[in-house]
Chain length 386, copies 2
């Protein structure tokens, strides 16, 4: 396995775009990523396209990636549509890295795009619920907010995490998102506003949840030589690990703990080496569990971590400097690649008003997706090194 590097990265602003097609949302970041890499598009050997719901929202199923890439003038190469619910973009990233690392390709394109907003929120929520097991959660009629709420309640009981601490995650991520021109929501909120916003599934309030939205993100993965020619600080894929549900009595670690352990091991890093992270805060309280599961703190210490400002911009380990899913938005297929884009920008010193100083050199992305038999179906963790 050889080293792989992230070349051009790009994303659209996330938001509600009834006037933009899936192709259009993918075209913009594909061409910006290609242009930034300064590489002839014909040099792309293989493409992986992450999208979770287009078949159910736009009616374009099956060959979504081909339709997207035709629009971008790319043809003939292997095009692989991947789908792993909200981790579809990370799955494209994982495969693009593996293709280059193994020498199957010199230059791989990973694209993620999603249209979730269709003007009918009920329909969008129904479509999202297809990412849970239809024979278990589907029969019970539980939507994702309900699934998350039960987990959060369990965690509150066990570790005495308070509603204020959960609200602070939303406040932090909105603070960060306010500085990000790509974010769907750029307004700041207060703890009081978060707690008094509409209750969605106790203890999760409206301002703790990510919005429905559309967007696209793309990046190119290539060799060390290509990265050198770009003339920017090279960002290397230290590791990328994809794992699935599988909670058993023999192995009580959560999927995020299992997957991140493997990612640390493969990258030769420890949790305390991480200087910046983008985590899957589909609802804000989950970010707290992730601090613990990823080893950023011990069990039950995440509440203190947010209280002490560790994960705020300016803290020791800024988390979700992009605004996270809560504020930047969460167009499923695009999310994983947008998370990687944020880390790359931070490492290159291109994060504008939300830039960490000095630019970090070890970053982590965690992206989750779907639900099967009461557990998150997929978790991807990437460690990036500059």
């Amino acid at each position: 396995m050889r080293e792989t590097y992230i070349l051009g990265v790009s994303m659209t602003r996330f938001g509600k775009f009834l006037d933009r097609t899936l192709q259009d949302l993918a075209y913009e970041p594909i061409w910006n990523a290609i242009r930034e890499s300064n590489i002839d598009p014909h040099a792309i050997d293989i493409a992986f396209i992450g999208n979770a719901y287009a078949g159910l929202i736009t009616g374009q199923e099956s060959v979504r990636g081909q339709v997207i890439l035709r629009e971008a003038g790319i043809s003939k190469i292997p095009m692989i549509n991947v789908e792993n619910a909200c981790a579809s973009g990370s799955t494209a990233f994982y495969l693009a890295h593996k293709a280059v690392a193994s020498g199957q390709a010199e230059l791989a394109l990973a694209v993620g795009a999603e249209k979730l907003f269709c003007g009918d929120t009920g329909r969008s929520l129904k479509v999202l619920s297809t990412s849970s097991d239809q024979e278990i959660e589907g029969r019970m009629g539980i939507l994702f907010a309900g699934i998350y709420a039960m987990r959060v309640r369990g965690h509150m009981e066990k570790y005495r995490i308070t509603r204020e601490q959960m609200a602070k995650v939303a406040v932090k991520n909105h603070d960060h998102g306010a500085l990000n021109p790509h974010a769907q929501y750029r307004n700041r909120v207060t703890v009081e506003e978060v707690l008094s916003s509409r209750m969605i599934a106790d203890p999760i309030t409206l301002l703790m949840t990510c919005p429905l939205g559309d967007g696209g993100a793309a990046l190119l993965i290539g060799t060390k030589e290509m990265a050198k020619r770009m003339g920017k600080r090279p960002v290397r894929v230290g590791s990328t690990v994809l794992g699935s549900f599988g909670f058993t009595r023999k192995d009580e670690r959560s999927i995020a703990a299992r997957v991140s352990n493997k990612a640390y091991e493969e990258a030769g890093m420890r949790p305390r080496d991480i200087q910046v992270a983008e985590l899957h805060d589909a609802v804000a309280p989950v970010e707290l569990f992730l601090y613990e599961e990823l080893g950023f703190c011990g069990p039950g210490e995440s509440g203190r971590m947010i209280d002490e400002g560790v994960t705020w911009l300016g803290g020791k380990l800024p988390v979700n400097t992009s605004g996270g899913l809560t504020s930047k938005g969460h167009p499923a297929g695009a999310t994983g690649l947008a998370q990687v884009a944020e880390i790359v920008w931070q490492m290159r010193g291109e994060a504008g008003q939300r830039q960490i100083n000095p630019a970090p050199s070890v970053g982590l992305v965690e992206n989750g997706g779907g639900n099967v038999a009461g557990e998150t179906a997929v978790v991807a963790v990437h460690i990036l090194l500059a």
Copy 2:
């Protein structure tokens, strides 16, 4: 890149099974493939799951593979849902091969499953049509039979292929399918019956088209050492190539010609080395073009090839000994893996009443999928060696 071998292979009978779930259709071949390989399921490192339409037929989108594998008792490993219309199974095969060839995995599972029959043919056809570009073919309102019919008309004009010759392909594949216990249709038909059956899209008649149906197929890909331990004739993946649409004036070869050329080259084989082939006869006349595009004969010689019985069981190059899509059936996600299964069985001498004697040692699979901008969106070609 190291050599990879096909270990256990299995498929369900194809047919219309309102009483079987997607999970059930996948479970049967997964467990049979594992049992045949005589390998502990915990040794599986990675799984690729091909399915094209479950989100639109059963409502289980996104984490289809996870739901399938949970049912089979498989968890924790990377699970990657792939979708490439009717070539979804071949895409899973391609990635499973690459994972083992590159040393990322020792043992990879490729699964394909589909439920297309829902008791409402109109709905199934609408779902199938999502595999064409919704902004081109979708707006025109053309279904796949119409797209194929236009291609066949063009070919008839150019090469004087007759309706009788097209009908003979359907007769041959039904003759073969009659010998295959896995086939959806096991009845023989005559040229007269094919030509007088209902006209679907001139010149394609009902008996020239593949049926709607459900099914599953699975196989394991592993190392040479594992293949040796199986105690069966080892079948090696000589090459697997995935290509996309992209007809340009500079390159007037069809996608099947381009992709197969690369597959021959990678396997170090020529068209005349092929001893058995499974081709994507979604409508029977397409098999004739494929003889030409894959180099089995020269341009315009395919009509004579079927007339002379070359591709019949007992001929020099039997094609679609399984019955092909026309007779065996075509549950999209399963098709590509079922095609590989047929070649493996022929090579091992396990093809029962349809066994080629002596067992072939060089075989080819061609699997197509979707339609984009007037062209087949995806073609996969694998060359297998025993």
